[in-house]
């Protein structure tokens, strides 16, 4: 075409005009630490595995999850999911049901028989793990993945520790527990059951282990002095729960009183109900607000007819198990104080759920090792005790006592044991800045309230040990996963690519995210304002 001078121009020729020179601020892509990940005691990359679950690729999600935690099916049942407590979505409608999706993935893995892959190559190092509870098995799993030879010594008859002897069936069915334990054994972990370690130093020498991780847990029930007649029947919670795993179930009678306010007290009371007690009464010296047990468990217990006497202590156990109760009041500090006001309570049996102590006898005479307040002191960063090569975790070290924390200890210890074996030290991984709700543009998330997991109907809950809480269906799990806001990390929604008035965003393709074309970016900041998940920020241009 014969174009008239100046009046008619060739298409797209404005590329010659580099408008990037107008810019005073520049957008940059960032990654922020989502609150769920920051919160998880087991150090799971929750957002990471939800990302795969969103697209229905459950195996990828499961494999991503189990990089950090080998027990999704167990976690999905017993984890107290503090992650959901900090989820940003709660500020829009309700928190993402992370725990329910985790359980779905765990169950899906069991159903499909997904297995862990054995290590590529062996390091030739041998590590001893004492105790087959959550912490120990977690450590065994990670160490094995790293190619170390792992031997687990467990005093008890079965794997699982407190997960088996502390948590009732109706919360954690045993087939699930067995399956997730077996999956680790299948990685080539040596297990010795009924093998109580009494002298760790000697055991290390005998087995010529290069390092050891101690996770024997806390199994010795705390006693409280209650003057009692011989006739009165007093048991401890740990014994009761443990005996549930044996052949003959404990005889608790029709009226069972449980003394304590922790999760164990709740478990025992609910167990008593299931064993046929007409009345299961918890006696607790403070108020419900101050009860250490998790609220949803208290709620479920009350639903099942468990009764609680708040602000009460047991003074003595008289004839035919008549208990004398003193009413308490809370002082300014919130501590209970006696009132001198008494009442009585009839009980066929009294179960004490006042916490447990650790059996530290296996550590006698280990040089450098310190204990304090009945637990082993460890370096909170490496989990190593005062004795080189000797690491510890779970209920036997100072920390909150729950499965998730224990699993986290196992993972952390494993990574540092590995470093220690290689004669190196693990540099602390730099953490991204937190992804707060203020970083988000919630407009872009469609309205989608949380899906609740089904609960077993009341009749069967109180009469059987069937699992109380059901799982999600595939559809629900997908929906729930897709409620994730991907706080602080690009999920390739194409907003920045679309909303740029200057076409200054380059789309690199699936999984590759985006890149700014600074030749043309004028620095208007629309991409930052319209990024749903706060994964872009403006920085001043330095002139």
């Amino acid at each position: 075409m014969d174009k008239p001078f100046a009046i008619t121009l060739d298409p797209g020729s404005s590329l010659a005009n580099k408008t990037g020179t107008w810019r005073t601020e520049r957008p940059v892509y960032v990654d922020r630490l989502p609150p769920c990940n920051a919160q998880c005691p087991a150090g799971e990359d929750i957002q990471g595995w939800l990302f795969h679950a969103e697209s229905g690729d459950y195996e990828a999600a499961w494999r991503h999850l189990t990089r950090d935690n080998p027990f999704p099916a167990i976690m999905g049942r017993v984890c107290y999911h503090s992650c959901e407590g900090v989820c940003n979505r709660a500020k829009i409608d309700s928190a993402v049901g992370i725990n329910s999706v985790e359980r779905f993935l765990g169950d899906e893995a069991l159903k499909r028989g997904w297995r862990f892959t054995a290590p590529k190559q062996e390091t030739g190092k041998q590590v001893l793990v004492v105790g087959a509870g959550p912490s120990g098995m977690s450590a065994a799993y990670h160490l094995r993945r790293m190619g170390h030879g792992v031997t687990v010594m467990e005093a008890g008859p079965l794997l699982g520790g407190m997960m088996r002897f502390g948590i009732p069936k109706y919360r954690l069915p045993r087939d699930v527990l067995d399956a997730e334990m077996q999956r680790i054994v299948d990685m080539g972990v040596h297990v010795q059951l009924g093998a109580k370690v009494t002298d760790i130093a000697q055991t290390m020498v005998d087995g010529s282990y290069d390092a050891a991780f101690l996770a024997v847990g806390a199994h010795i029930a705390k006693r409280a002095f209650i003057p009692a007649k011989d006739s009165s029947r007093i048991l401890d919670a740990v014994a009761v729960l443990r005996s549930m795993e044996g052949q003959e179930q404990p005889m608790l009678g029709r009226r069972v009183v449980v003394y304590g306010g922790g999760n164990t007290a709740i478990d025992v009371a609910r167990t008593a109900k299931r064993l046929g007690a007409t009345e299961a009464i918890i006696v607790y010296r403070r108020t419900r607000e101050r009860m250490p047990a998790h609220d949803f468990e208290v709620e479920e217990a009350l639903d099942e007819g468990v009764m609680v006497k708040w602000l009460s202590t047991i003074k003595r156990s008289g004839d035919d198990g008549v208990l004398t109760i003193e009413k308490m009041i809370l002082d300014a500090k919130g501590n209970p104080q006696p009132t001198g006001e008494f009442e009585t309570l009839e009980a066929d049996s009294l179960v004490l759920a006042l916490g447990q102590d650790v059996d530290l006898s296996l550590l006698d005479g280990v040089p450098g090792l310190q204990t304090k307040g009945g637990v082993v002191q460890v370096d909170p960063v490496t989990m190593m005790t005062g004795h080189p090569g000797l690491f510890a975790g779970g209920d036997m070290v100072p920390a909150e006592r729950n499965v998730t924390v224990a699993v986290g200890h196992g993972k952390k210890a494993a990574r540092h044991i590995d470093a220690w074996l290689r004669g190196t030290q693990l540099a602390p991984t730099p953490k991204h800045a937190p992804a707060s709700f203020e970083n988000l543009n919630p407009w872009y998330y469609s309205d989608a309230p949380k899906t609740l997991r089904p609960l077993l109907d009341m009749a069967r809950r109180t009469s059987s040990f069937d699992e109380v809480q059901g799982g999600l269906s595939a559809d629900n799990a997908l929906f729930e996963a897709r409620r994730c806001l991907s706080c602080g990390n690009c999920f390739e929604c194409d907003n920045c690519y679309g909303v740029c008035p200057d076409n200054a965003v380059i789309k690199l393709g699936p999984g590759k995210r985006f890149q700014f074309n600074l030749d043309y970016c004028k620095g208007c900041g629309i991409c930052v304002a319209e990024c749903p998940c706060g994964a872009i920020e403006m920085v001043k241009e330095d002139f």
Binding site: W22, S55, R482, Y497, G498, P501, K522, C524, A529
Partner: protein
């Protein structure tokens, strides 16, 4: 207009979504999009018109398989896109005058019709787009536009409405809203800003022509906008699309708030987003999270006098091509008290829109 695909992480509010089926994906999400308005144009930072134009023209390009010719009225869009020796357009494009773009479109359509006839075709595969700003559409170009409508010529007309003459330095047009401060409706006197009871609603006037298709849209809802362009391209005859495109320079808003303001215009009910066929409203985009008009007005310096705020002395930086910066440099009048009574009127107008176009979902009856 198209409901969010349920259960998706972001519904369809974002530009793209990896979880969507390919046929559900937006034009703008595609690396294949034509970028009809290419990089290097001289629009201000955060220009809503540049964005709206690329959204609309790219969508029209996809709908027509790139068989599209565009005519452009004089105005920002023309000036910032085609200063000799560079053009940002990547499709056949012509600029003639300020007030005649609809007629130029008619001429192009007529020529294409004859070409098709000579080729023995029923109708031309090449389609015509005529576009202009609110000044070129509602004022100086209105005669030609009405003529094009009345003859039902096969032209899609798109008005990019930024509610004033921005290219000449932010003067009042018949699309300038009540109370808005422009260079010719200064924020001084008893009733600062644009006077009440003036201006015209072009979408409704277009509907009065009984043309096959009329729709409104904003740069805040890409998928809705694209769907409307696509639909318009399935229809022959005169079609009108009115797109709200915030102007950081003329509105005195932050350049990064362009889309947010368009969204608020809709969520307040100030700018109803709807579709009409043959003069009859057939669909409206419901308000999702209703907000009071203050939220929309407050971030805009052109309304600062309503809140009794002094307008910041410096205006958003404007490139040489646009001469409007000075307008916002003047301090707003009505400082101190503000004008709650004017705010109340604007809220009442928004509420009327909500009733008139049924912008809120009826509460469900149980």
């Amino acid at each position: 207009m198209n409901a969010p695909v349920k259960f998706y992480q972001t519904g369809t509010f974002t530009v793209g979504n990896r979880l969507l089926a390919p046929e559900q994906r937006s034009v703008q999400a595609s690396t294949e999009r034509s970028n009809s308005l290419n990089s290097g144009h001289r629009a201000c930072q955060g220009c809503g018109e540049a964005l709206g134009a690329r959204y609309a023209v790219d969508a029209a390009m996809r709908a027509t398989g790139n068989r599209l010719i565009a005519a452009n009225a004089t105005g920002c869009l023309e000036v910032f896109s085609t200063p000799y020796p560079e053009t940002s357009w990547q499709l056949p494009w012509i600029h003639s005058l300020f007030g005649n773009v609809a007629a130029v479109g008619t001429g192009i359509a007529a020529a294409l019709k004859v070409k098709a006839a000579k080729a023995g075709l029923g109708q031309s595969a090449v389609r015509v787009l005529a576009q202009g700003g609110d000044g070129g559409t509602t004022d100086i170009g209105f005669g030609c536009l009405s003529g094009m409508f009345e003859r039902n010529d096969d032209v899609l007309y798109i008005c990019y409405d930024n509610e004033a003459y921005m290219n000449t330095g932010v003067q009042r047009s018949s699309a300038t809203p009540y109370a808005a401060r422009t260079a010719t409706t200064m924020a001084v006197g008893a009733e600062p800003g644009a006077e009440r009871g003036k201006g015209k609603n072009l979408p409704l006037i277009a509907m009065a022509h009984q043309i096959p298709y009329v729709a409104t849209a904003t740069v805040a809802d890409l998928r809705d906008l694209e769907a409307k362009v696509e639909k318009a391209m399935t229809i022959h005859g005169a079609r009108y699309l009115h797109i709200l495109v915030p102007c950081p320079l003329g509105w005195g808003s932050a350049s990064h708030d362009t889309i947010k303001l368009a969204r608020l215009a809709r969520e307040t009910g100030i700018f109803p987003v709807f579709e009409a066929e043959h003069g009859e409203v057939t669909a409206v985009t419901k308000i999702r999270h209703r907000v009071p008009v203050d939220e929309y007005l407050r971030p805009q310096k052109r309304f600062a006098h309503l809140f009794g705020k002094e307008v910041a002395a410096q205006a958003p930086a404007a490139p040489a091509a646009q001469g409007g910066a000075s307008v916002l440099a003047r301090p707003g009048a009505g400082a101190g008290q503000g004008h709650p009574e004017m705010l109340a009127r604007i809220q009442a107008d928004a509420d009327r829109n909500i009733r008139r176009f049924k912008l809120l979902d009826e509460p469900e009856v149980h």
